[in-house]
Symmetry: C2
Subunit: 452 residues, 2 copies
């Protein structure tokens, strides 16, 4: 983002930047749909009471109220607010529509969310999330935890962002290990371990001892968190620590399944990382985080896990597994670092030039023929000098200018980059395949966009 | 919408309904991009002061405020509110980014907007609009008014909604005519004529006379408003009314250009209708409305016009021409009347069945091969009886079930609708073209969705 947004925390993209964002969203959509995920959208607002159920995040919520009404208050049971993630609304949607859905229900959802946070680098007040989840009714086979890792690895590979690591752990493994160590408040240990990357092992050790762990217990917990492998060899490393517990065994088995399947499908991309804790309380098994190599400061670009109860309507509970990609944050970084760039800012491949004002109708017919074959085409509105019409195309990155034949001569088309001009028939001519639509990919030095 | 939304005025679609909505949005995107329109999105919020500039719509605006802050007030210069259309934010975006845009700037925008209106049939508090505009810097050739009519006619034809009429008029024509009649407050006459369809000619005549028009003037204004033609013959009909004014001539010429060009490109779809007034003050020339035949009660599904000044930064003004489609309202009706239906609710074309739990990895390999060739594929997570696995596919509308070969036999695939089962290789087999993705189209009696 070269420009500053006029409202801090509410990013807006220029057309060429939006081409990159669209490409990211289209790529995610394609991969998710190839894996059989249905798209849904939920409304932007939820009852305030619903959003504040977990108690801890009220400071981030934007209430809405009609300007001439009294303001929304937390106490008003009818008060509405903007959703701050896609998980809470999805949970409500599942419970509300359970009778119309088929379980396990595979859905993806790509929408804006709002958080009234203090804006800072990469933290927005309005941003797009892309969530992908599989939710069961009553039960959900563990196999889906494995599948989700494969889906996300494939999606991130398709995005061509460069090297990434999907780091996977399992809450049962960590909690079982802490239980085996004789620790009682395992959730407290997880919360401290979650800070490892931020504050370092020494400070975490101190904090754990502050929680009542012995130095040996703290060191064992840290030893567990230091294990990272690209295959199932983490199992032996954990066993070598000499701790035993049935829940630990279950966790080891589950994590092995994820890592082994992923090692075949996406070698090196999906790794066991026993330091991953995820702060949120509702995860109960597999937890995922993703780091983009070279962009570690971005934090996890894609996180999630298994939850035993996404939602419950009293009679029935809905366990699930899913991940969420912080699209705006990712795009913002990709654009700033020119990791992905668009080859042009307009969809247009061909500009039909206008020899004279009265040729407009003829020009429209050529354009119609080209569009009918999937070639995005614009027609000049005024018959300016050809040089000016070519500059019109050039400024927008439109690669071809079409010249209508005059005095019985046939039409011609010019590639304005090479200057090559050839005879052309609107019924048969086609641009180079890579010119058909804006290309988005890793930027190359020789076609970097002009500095602004 | 068979179900009632849990919040009145905030519609949400089931997966099969969302397939229809996606199809509509994808079709609009395709047509707009083929015509060289770039996509942008603007933030959902604007300063309250900006939204209330026109004074008249404050009752419909949703203010937002962080729950622990003081409520948004109209007086607070920093107060924010949700946008109620895409025109006001687009105007701001153009002025703010003018230095980075290329004019004439062709853009389309498809986003949610919010209005705190009393919800009623087809009136939502949250809904999606699709806007398409061309905006110039300083000036904008009239040709774009003609082009926009062609773009919209093509988009509506591509949507296969059935018969529609894009009804076009020109403010210069009407106002010039009223001036020629000797009427002074032409805007007041336009406002009365705008009610014609709602209250009838007699009441409009009374209202016009109440405005100070003579009976002859009122009758002439109504005679003008009764003219409807599919070609430029409206010109002679207007001339026969014996009124003269230079502005009238200009309007007749402009409207002729639109109707003549459209009669060639979309015969019968784009008609001159001299009753079209459009309530909004900012239109200065061409005005458009669209009626879906057989769904007249929906009102105009797509409206817009030419404005001489979308926005201005003091030094420069930005004239434009554009239209807006009320997507949610349209979808809601299309779904209720089953004008468009989806052939299935999931993207999945193939379900790979699981003979035994240990075949899961093999099944994933088949799925990967199929997906690699663009065939959306799911794998069963549990090795239930085949009958149960087939029912799993059937309930979701997945047309094919893949059976892994056992004991050295090759794989087979079954079309579960016909029961036909054939040998298949994941590297070469393909489904019928119409089974590759959910098909959306006019519903046929023989594949109507089950009643819910």
């Amino acid at each position: 983002m070269a420009r500053k947004p006029s409202l801090t925390g509410f990013p807006e993209w220029l057309p060429a930047e939006r081409v990159v964002e669209q490409h990211v969203l289209d790529t995610l959509r394609r991969v998710f749909e190839l894996h059989g995920f249905s798209n849904i959208e939920t409304r932007a607002v939820e009852p305030v009471a619903q959003l504040l159920r977990k108690g801890e995040i009220d400071k981030e919520v934007y209430g809405i109220s009609r300007l001439q009404d009294d303001a929304a208050s937390k106490e008003d049971p009818h008060a509405l607010a903007l959703h701050f993630d896609l998980t809470v609304p999805f949970a409500r949607y599942v419970v509300e529509n359970a009778g119309y859905l088929h379980f396990p229900f595979r859905r993806y959802q790509m929408q804006k969310v709002w958080r009234g946070e203090r804006p800072q680098d990469g933290r927005f007040r309005e941003f797009t999330q892309a969530d992908v989840d599989i939710v069961g009714e009553g039960t959900l086979p563990f196999r889906y935890d494995v599948e989700l890792a494969l889906v996300i690895a494939e999606a991130l590979q398709a995005l061509q962002l460069g090297e990434f690591r999907l780091r996977v752990n399992n809450r049962k493994l960590s909690e079982g290990f802490y239980c085996g160590l004789g620790v009682e408040d395992t959730a407290a240990v997880l919360r401290e371990i979650d800070k490892l990357e931020k504050i370092g092992a020494e400070k975490v050790a101190e904090a754990l001892i502050g929680q009542g762990l012995s130095r040996e217990q703290a060191e064992a917990a840290l030893a567990l968190a230091s294990i990272r492998t690209e295959d199932a060899s983490f199992v032996e490393q954990v066993r070598a620590l000499g701790v035993e517990h049935p829940l630990l065994e279950e966790g080891l088995d589950e994590l092995s399944q994820v890592i082994t399947a992923a090692a075949g499908a996406a070698p090196g991309k999906v790794v066991a990382d026993l330091s991953i804790a995820r702060g949120l309380d509702y995860y109960t098994g597999t937890v995922y985080e993703t780091v983009l190599l070279g962009h570690e400061k971005l934090g996890s670009i894609c996180s999630g896990g298994r939850y035993e109860s996404l939602a419950s309507n009293g009679k029935r509970s809905y366990p699930g597994v899913g991940l969420s990609i912080g699209v705006s944050r990712l795009i913002s970084r990709l654009l700033a670092d020119e990791v992905l760039t668009a080859s042009r800012e307009v969809p247009t491949a061909v500009l039909v030039a206008l020899p004279a004002a009265e040729d407009w109708q003829r020009a429209q017919e050529v354009a119609r023929a080209l569009r009918g074959r999937g070639i995005a085409t614009e027609v000049m509105a005024t018959a300016e000098k050809f040089g000016k019409q070519i500059r019109h195309a050039d400024r927008r990155g439109i690669p071809y200018v079409w010249f209508l034949g005059t005095d019985g001569a046939g039409d011609q088309v010019k590639d304005i980059r090479s200057g090559e001009q050839v005879d052309a028939d609107a019924a048969t001519w086609a641009p180079l395949a890579e010119d058909l639509a804006p290309q988005v990919g890793p930027s190359r030095a020789d076609d970097a966009p002009e500095a602004r």
